[in-house]
């Protein structure tokens, strides 16, 4: 196995998971997004989304801020600089392998 292909095994599996990749991509396009928006855009169930957000937060890829708008609870998610870099690196790595002749 070549070194190039071996590097593929070192891919960041945390962000490689499709649901988390979707969440990170959405958050990269905005400053922040709330739970409801992420739920609708990803099509994940609330429990599933919650689990993925927790994993991303534990890895330091996103910040989760719990606040209120009026009396309604609001869960705001933001991609951190670490998360942004992880997403960028991951996309670059995938593109490199997918576009390889």
């Amino acid at each position: 196995m070549s070194d190039d292909l071996r590097q593929l095994l070192d891919i960041d599996r945390l962000i490689h998971e499709p649901a988390r990749l979707m969440i990170a991509t959405i958050l990269a396009a905005a400053e922040s997004a709330d739970f409801l928006f992420l739920e609708r855009e990803t099509g994940l169930t609330r429990g599933n989304l919650s689990a993925h957000l927790s994993k991303l937060e534990q890895a330091g890829y996103i910040n989760i801020e719990k606040t209120y708008r009026g009396k309604i609870p609001l869960t705001l998610c933001r991609l951190t600089d670490t998360g942004r870099k992880a997403l960028k690196d991951h996309r670059a790595r995938l593109t490199k392998y997918i576009e390889r002749p």
Binding site: T25, E31, A33, F37, S50, S54, K66, I72, L74, L76
Partner: protein, 213 residues
């Protein structure tokens, strides 16, 4: 996969315009400007009110802009965010703000040069305004991929140039132009809002899963 990434990114960027509230509010702003230019056209140039309107133009413009922004944010907080969620967008960085100012200054200088070079070109102010708004709509349409913005761009250019070709006096021409542009934006925003409300429901407030985060 790249296409899917781009689609997700684009959908997130489009979200600010999903409900048509931006067009409705700016349509209202355009109608305010139409009333302003209509008053200028109807009032004698030497009247106190006409002078007050002329000197207060910047205040009216900035004030209307601030009110529009406030109205959009308030309406979104009541209509959009409870239905389909909230997305916050980053403010333009310093470089971008300078670039915006430079483009605005360039446009102002071009109009001033046109006026100085040919005084009759005052009739062409609606045409130039129409082309300017068309360029703005085209920029947003190509960036966001929203078809209705292409329609607004075409309408804006067509309305502005037609009014100029009709040879209406400056203030009357501008009043008609802003009235048409405002009406077009209200129609576009109204249809978008109607479709949005038809396809979205106000969800319940069960936040137990969110609370568990």
């Amino acid at each position: 996969m790249n296409e899917q990434f781009q689609q997700l990114t684009r959908r997130t960027r489009q979200y600010w315009y999903i409900d048509g509230l931006v067009e409705l509010s700016f349509g209202g702003l355009c109608l305010t400007l139409a009333l302003y230019f209509l008053a200028q056209a109807l009032l004698p140039a030497t009247s106190l009110l006409a002078n007050l309107l002329t000197t207060g133009f910047v205040i009216i413009l900035v004030g209307s802009g601030l009110i529009t922004r406030k109205v959009v944010n308030t309406l979104k907080a009541h209509l959009t965010y409870p239905r389909t969620g909230y997305v916050g967008y980053s403010h333009p960085n310093k470089y971008r703000r300078i670039l915006n100012l430079l483009v605005a200054a360039l446009m102002g200088a071009l109009v001033a040069a046109l006026m100085a070079a040919a005084p009759l070109s005052a009739e062409w102010i609606p045409g130039v305004s129409g082309l300017f708004f068309a360029a703005v709509w085209l920029y947003f349409a190509s960036r966001l991929g929203l078809v209705r913005f292409y329609v607004l761009a075409a309408f804006s250019a067509l309305a502005g140039v037609s009014i100029s070709l009709a040879g209406l006096p400056e203030n009357t021409g501008l009043a008609v132009f802003y009235a048409l542009l405002g009406a077009a934006m209200l129609v576009s925003g109204g249809i978008t809002l109607w479709k949005y409300l038809k396809h979205t429901d106000m969800p319940g407030t069960d936040a137990s899963i969110e609370d568990a985060l």
